[in-house]
């Protein structure tokens, strides 16, 4: 299973927030974060991040 983590310099642009079909992403002053329990591993956020701040890890 693929795990998506926002760990490569998020610029809080908000794009992934709107892209995520499960509303599994929230954005605070530190940037965007994925709530892993809500995530369905679809990868849409990964593609939507023009800043490539989202990493994919194989679990």
């Amino acid at each position: 299973m693929k795990k998506y983590v926002i760990d490569r310099g998020c610029k809080a642009c908000d794009a992934c927030y709107w892209a995520c079909p499960k509303k599994a992403i929230y954005v605070d002053q530190q940037g965007a974060h994925i709530e892993q329990e809500k995530c369905v591993h679809c990868g849409i956020c990964y593609e939507s991040c023009a800043n490539e701040a989202i990493s994919v890890y194989e679990e």
Binding site: G9, K11, A19, P21, V27, E47, S48, A53
Partner: protein, 498 residues
């Protein structure tokens, strides 16, 4: 030729006869994202359509301005465009290849049956009894007129609307200053993997500390901007071999007057000087860029905001923050206030607004940008809630059809960054695909108004929305009901913002 005649220090340009290039159902002024959407939509609805663009290629800022991040709701013609870009490896992680993008647009526009006229500058509008009925353009051939039953102004600067006598706004209310302009540039020879894995990218992605240090140590003579706005990897090039190509938004001109050719000249010169400083600083100080070189700067200066027309409805700053739902919604945006500081470095992601008689510093998603509000005041949401009561915007903002219809002149629609909106509302409504979606709505409305022989302001919004939905547009049907369209909505597929 005109004979020299002077009056009060001005030159007299006497009335002259100009050849008429043709007569069209719809003339679209400007071939940027909004113009593309409008021209394709209008031609597909059977209108004889002419698209006039002053540059030598289509796409406007998204191609010639090197703004290669087509963000926002991908639907309708925009979705088709991204799929076409995907098919030629010209789109990846919401980064596009500006060169392939131009070619895709050429093919889409001509494929839809649009007559295309490049290198032609619209310099005037032809008006008859309060109705625009054509434009005057200048190009290598000279000065020509084109007659049109409907005109869509997608010039970004509302040129045609202004020439036709529409009331327009420009800049912020307090001092009329426009948003900062930025000349984009591309670098080659970049080791993207190295940069992406670097501590800098991880811990200081906007290079705030790096820039401070560079200014202190003389690697940058002054803070051209206090942050890196964005850097993207241009797709479809050699990758993972230390030879990547990137596109960068970093240069930043202040106190801009983007409707004044003299000041535009100043900004192009300044932008190229800034790019020259920046790429050398980057090569010295940024991991992965040790062997980089400058490829080019944008053909078009990045003008974020200039003239905005006064329409049947002026989209307000608070409408935007409150995600106000309009019955006549024609497109959506998921963006936030994105103001590039008119007279200093940095960006500002809040708007000072009066709510219930009190000043609030309104934000849609709780971010300040570069500068906190005066006195470090707390941010409010669009309804004035603060602190633990602050609620981020969870619905996209809508753009109503009335914001695309100028209040005064008939026969005319606008689309793109010149929509009828307050300064800070426009700061959230100008993403690449937002402009394209507005264009599709305007082109479709122009066609409907001709079909029924009515003025654009009289177009039945339910019929317009019905057609837009059938053509794959996103009117927020996933989020809310649109009066008059309830039954239909359930049967339609919804779009995504990716």
């Amino acid at each position: 030729m005109i004979t020299l005649q002077k009056k009060n220090g001005r030159i007299i340009d006497p009335q002259r006869e100009v050849p008429c290039l043709g007569e069209y159902d719809v003339v679209v002024v400007g071939g940027g994202m909004a113009g593309i959407g409008a021209a394709i939509a209008s031609a597909r609805k059977g209108c004889k359509t002419l698209l006039v663009e002053r540059e030598s290629a289509l796409g406007g800022l998204a191609t010639l301005g090197l703004v290669n991040i087509p963000l926002d709701f991908s639907a309708g013609i925009g979705k088709e465009m991204l799929a076409n870009l995907d098919a030629v490896e010209g789109h990846w992680h919401r980064n596009s290849d500006p060169e392939k993008h131009k070619l895709i647009l050429d093919r889409m526009v001509t494929g839809a049956g649009v007559d295309l006229l490049l290198v032609s500058h619209v310099v005037d509008a032809i008006v008859d009894k309060g109705r625009i009925c054509g434009v005057v353009l200048e190009n290598k051939t000279g000065r020509q007129a084109v007659l049109a039953s409907r005109v869509v102004d997608a010039s970004g600067d509302a040129d045609a609307a202004f020439f036709a006598g529409c009331e327009c706004m420009s800049g912020r209310k307090s001092d009329g200053k426009n948003q900062a302009c930025s000349l984009e540039f591309r670098l080659g020879g970049v080791d993207w993997d190295k940069y992406n894995a670097s501590e800098l990218k991880k811990n200081d992605p906007s290079w705030l500390k790096l820039i401070e240090k560079a200014v202190a140590e003389g690697d940058m003579p002054y803070a051209i901007d206090n942050h890196l706005n964005w850097v993207t990897h241009v797709p479809g090039r050699p990758q993972h071999c230390g030879q990547d190509e990137i596109s960068m938004c970093f240069a930043h001109s202040r106190n801009c007057r983007p409707l004044d050719a003299k000041d535009l000249t100043r900004m192009y010169l300044e932008g190229r000087e800034q790019a020259d400083i920046l790429w050398k600083f980057i090569r010295k100080c940024v991991p992965g860029y040790e062997n980089c070189y400058l490829i080019d700067t944008g053909t078009l200066l990045g003008v974020r905001e200039s003239r905005r027309v006064v329409g049947e409805y002026v989209l307000t700053t608070l409408d935007f923050a409150r995600a106000q739902q309009f019955d006549d919604v024609v497109c959506l945006t998921g963006h936030h206030y994105d103001l590039h500081n008119p007279d200093g470095p940095g960006n500002i992601k809040w708007a000072a607004e009066t709510i219930n008689g009190q000043t609030h510093y309104v934000s849609t998603h709780g971010q300040y940008g570069s500068w906190a509000p005066p006195g470090n005041a707390e941010l409010s949401d669009g309804f004035g809630r603060k602190g633990k009561d602050f609620q981020r915007k969870t619905l996209p903002s809508s753009i109503p059809y009335r914001s695309l219809v100028p209040a005064k002149i008939d026969g005319l629609l606008v689309a793109g960054r010149c929509l009828s909106s307050e300064f800070m509302a426009q700061a959230g409504c100008r993403l690449v695909l937002t402009c394209l979606n507005m264009g599709q709505a305007a082109g479709t409305a122009a066609a409907l108004s001709l079909k029924h022989d009515i003025q654009p302001r009289k177009v039945d919004r339910v019929e317009l929305q019905h057609v837009l939905l059938k053509d794959g547009c996103d009117l927020g049907q996933k989020y809310w009901e649109i009066p008059g369209l309830e039954g239909e909505l359930a049967t339609l597929e919804t779009s995504t913002r990716t």
